[in-house]
Subunit: 510 residues, 2 copies
């Protein structure tokens, strides 16, 4: 019997190895595609697109075939019947999820969505340029319909929008997301009202002026140096829409420079550092499997927002960083850390554009998109009604009404890509950032003094220990619970913004 048991263990080890090799292959193909995408955004010559599109499409279909092959299913079936170590069980769990989703949707539907989205993108762009929603509407209708069908294929019994949301956030259920977003709306609408009515006079022009690209780039490198970015495993470049991508061996940052927006380049660089820093904290020996890959969008965004907002928009950060900035830009000599802090935290009372929003109004932009896309996908709202509903909600939640659809429901790229269910992860990331930052402060004491000295190792060590090194070992709620001692909650975020903005804007009731 012992011999049989030993043989069965050996078979299982062999089965697991075969699964792991398959997982690594899929992962390497995906990481190769990641390099091709980075290249396309950052260095590819203009006319390289036709070849690049074919290369990416080939890698994507190879990856799909490897994942959905019968052998993958057989290996998963076999492994799920036996005993697995925790790490192995996590790899099997993640692959099973992907496998079930990808095998449940017919490849023709996937290709139709992809082709429709490819065509939708230029239509959306043109519609936005010409402020002509009608031009985009039929394509948007088609995309909504195809995505509803897609959700139906995956789980005919679930709310379609919940299925799509779980594409981006597989382990946080939609009820939790909804609870958080509703809470944000309920609490932030009156807070923003109070700010708009306050007489406080913030200094907002600390970074007014024109700043050369080359100097901005040097300063962006200073920012990354200062935060402890590992240049042996990364690099900084520019891209029209900044992003970060890569693996634990090579996690790159991009940023943008606009002559009249020095602050924007600094905060964007810190944000992307947060993403890259998470990637760099993933374990080297997990490379190629889910154990070496980042948890999903909300956790990723929690890392970028934690660094951008809790560090980069804090008073002690500006006490630390302003002298560095003055070395590059002597014209900042008369700016005080307090003025820099106020400029970095100004709440706009007439902004219509999500990507230009402050850290407070931002979430109402998200709530509006969440409510609209959910109703669209669930069949409770017609595409033709979107512009008016959009504008009404802006008026109700933010006190501003877009005058054009270009500044309204046409502003974001996501729907034109066929992405519905993505928006909530931005707000969940902010909420989680505040929760993690509070937990780190609980564990380690306040960081203000350290940040003032430009010491980020302890904070980063805490994030490495409690978040980064786990990769996808734990499902998201478990990861959050282990790191913070509680489930996902908006409490810490609301406490943070109430205290910060109550103070900044001298609000009586806050």
């Amino acid at each position: 019997m012992a011999t049989d048991q030993a043989r069965s263990d050996a078979d299982e080890a062999d089965t697991y190895d075969r699964l792991e090799r398959r997982v690594e292959r899929i992962s390497n193909v995906g990481n190769a595609a990641g390099i091709l995408q980075w290249d396309q955004e950052v260095v590819m010559p203009d006319e390289g697109t036709p070849a690049r599109a074919q290369q990416l499409s080939t890698l994507s279909s190879i990856s799909h075939e490897l994942l959905t092959a019968d052998e993958t299913g057989d290996l998963l079936d076999e492994l799920e019947e036996g005993e697995l170590a925790d790490d192995q069980a996590a790899v099997v769990r993640e692959l099973r999820r992907q496998y079930d989703r990808e095998t449940s949707v017919p490849q023709e539907l996937v290709e139709e969505i992809s082709a429709t989205a490819s065509n939708a993108h230029p239509k959306w762009k043109r519609a936005k340029e010409e402020d002509d929603f009608e031009r985009f509407a039929p394509t948007l209708e088609k995309l909504v319909e195809l995505r509803r069908e897609y959700a139906e294929q995956i789980d005919p019994d679930a709310e379609p929008y919940a299925v799509l949301f779980s594409e981006y956030e597989p382990y946080i259920d939609l009820e939790t997301a909804e609870r958080v977003l509703e809470r944000l709306r309920e609490e932030l609408v009156p807070l923003i009202d109070a700010i708009q009515e306050s007489d406080a006079d913030l200094e907002t022009d600390a970074f007014a002026g024109e700043f050369e690209d080359d100097d901005q780039e040097a300063l962006a490198r200073d920012v990354l140096d200062s935060l402890g970015y590992d240049w042996d495993r990364g690099r900084l470049d520019t891209a029209p829409h900044p992003f970060s991508s890569g693996t634990q061996f090579d996690a790159r940052v991009t940023t943008r420079f606009e002559e009249d927006d020095l602050l924007g380049s600094i905060t964007s660089t810190i944000h992307e550092f947060g993403h890259a820093n998470y990637t760099l904290g993933l374990p080297d020996d997990g490379y190629g499997t889910p154990l070496g890959e980042a948890r999903d969008l909300s956790v990723h965004e929690s890392q970028s927002r934690l660094w951008e907002n809790h560090v980069g928009r804090s008073r002690p950060f500006w006490e630390h960083f302003l002298p560095i900035a003055r070395e590059r830009f002597p014209e900042l000599a008369d700016v005080s850390p307090e003025a820099a802090y106020e400029a970095a935290n100004q709440v706009y009372d007439d902004n219509l554009i999500r990507v230009e929003a402050d850290e407070l109004t931002y979430h109402l932009h998200i709530v509006i998109r969440f409510e609209i896309e959910r109703a669209l996908i669930n069949g409770e709202l017609e595409v033709s009604e979107v512009p008016e509903v959009w504008n009404d909600k802006y008026e109700a939640y933010l006190g501003v009404r877009p005058e054009t659809d270009a500044e309204g429901c046409l502003q974001d790229i996501h729907w034109s890509h066929g992405d519905f269910g993505y928006f909530p992860t931005y707000s969940l990331g902010s909420v989680l950032a505040a929760q993690l930052y509070a937990a780190a402060a609980d564990d380690l004491g306040e960081f203000d003094a350290q940040i003032r000295e430009g010491e980020f190792d302890e904070l980063n060590g805490w994030l490495r220990e409690n978040v980064h090194r786990h990769g996808k070992r734990y499902v998201t709620p478990d990861l959050i619970e282990r790191a913070t001692g509680e489930g996902l909650t908006a409490d810490h975020f609301l406490e943070y913004v109430t205290s910060k903005y109550g103070d900044l804007y001298d609000l009586e009731d806050y």
Copy 2:
């Protein structure tokens, strides 16, 4: 009967389409790997190697599996029995060749060669640094043995070295290559002797001095502008060992800058332009199949050498380009076009290093390697004998004897990669460059006046028409015959160097 015929035609079209999709897939995977390699050489952070190695190895094994799958063989069998259009027949011919080679070698042997070469590279590097051939010898023996076995697997009846040579130059037979190389040796040894004995006093210090990298880069861009490089489909970067890579949609150039070697950076940039320019001349609609891919190494090298030597080392080129160079480097104000021409064409009498050789002695460096690697692979020479044979040949052909193996048989990287049979393609490329240049001049008249004006369109148009646009449509001898009216011959090269150097060095008998 007509119906049966129609059905059979339709089946054949379908079979060909299936083969074409497979070819395109393989090609796209290869091109994706090309981007990853460019990235690794040019922009990848230092510590990215472990992940990159896995990504490249995954793409390589996927490509191998797609190529050697039974389905590929079945499609080829079926298509070879039917009637094919010329273009289709060319695609089938190229794929058949690759298929037969890759299926004839056991995958374990391929992996053993790859693993041995990976380990050999650092050993070779260390041996070169420490001038210690013994350190590299056992690995070199192993690589020779493995490559001999590899050749045996592909064709047990052929000369092993011929089989390896055809890896790089599939359609030029080794006898032709040998004939050309022997002719070069016979004619160049006395010519170089005559030069070394001549009293001519060339001006060789036109570009002496120190030149800033930034200015050198600006000048490299001027060179590329001047030659008509298409920046919408390319870019210029630096790499320690300059190369060019990509596709007709995106063919990139790299170069290097050394403070005291302005001339080297210019000629290296022109050389790599020649490669990229060939790639850019491949037909867009052939992308993904052999019809849109460059013919092999010798033809590629003919393009780089034609631009580097026949254009870039010519008098009229320097008449055109020196004024441009003076804009960047005012210190060149007193340099005459003739002095620049002489500096660019100096024949060294004591150079031991292939990559630093002039356009004349270069070929004796190649002949020496060819003779030695051929004897090694064919079992006629022991690895332990290589250093002495190497040094003897240098003394006999070039009149110089290396004092160390670092400057002798350890100087090149190729053998450490397990590459035997590659070297001859460098000389064949030069020979073909001269042959093509002479044919173009026959067709179009002398280019001197055009080059003096910086007009390269007519020359490039001839190359596009006669070489580039054909991709791999014709086998190499046919391509050469169609373009030049004769088979590969050293005549034109020897005529060119005899006339050029006879004149430069006032040689009586030349």
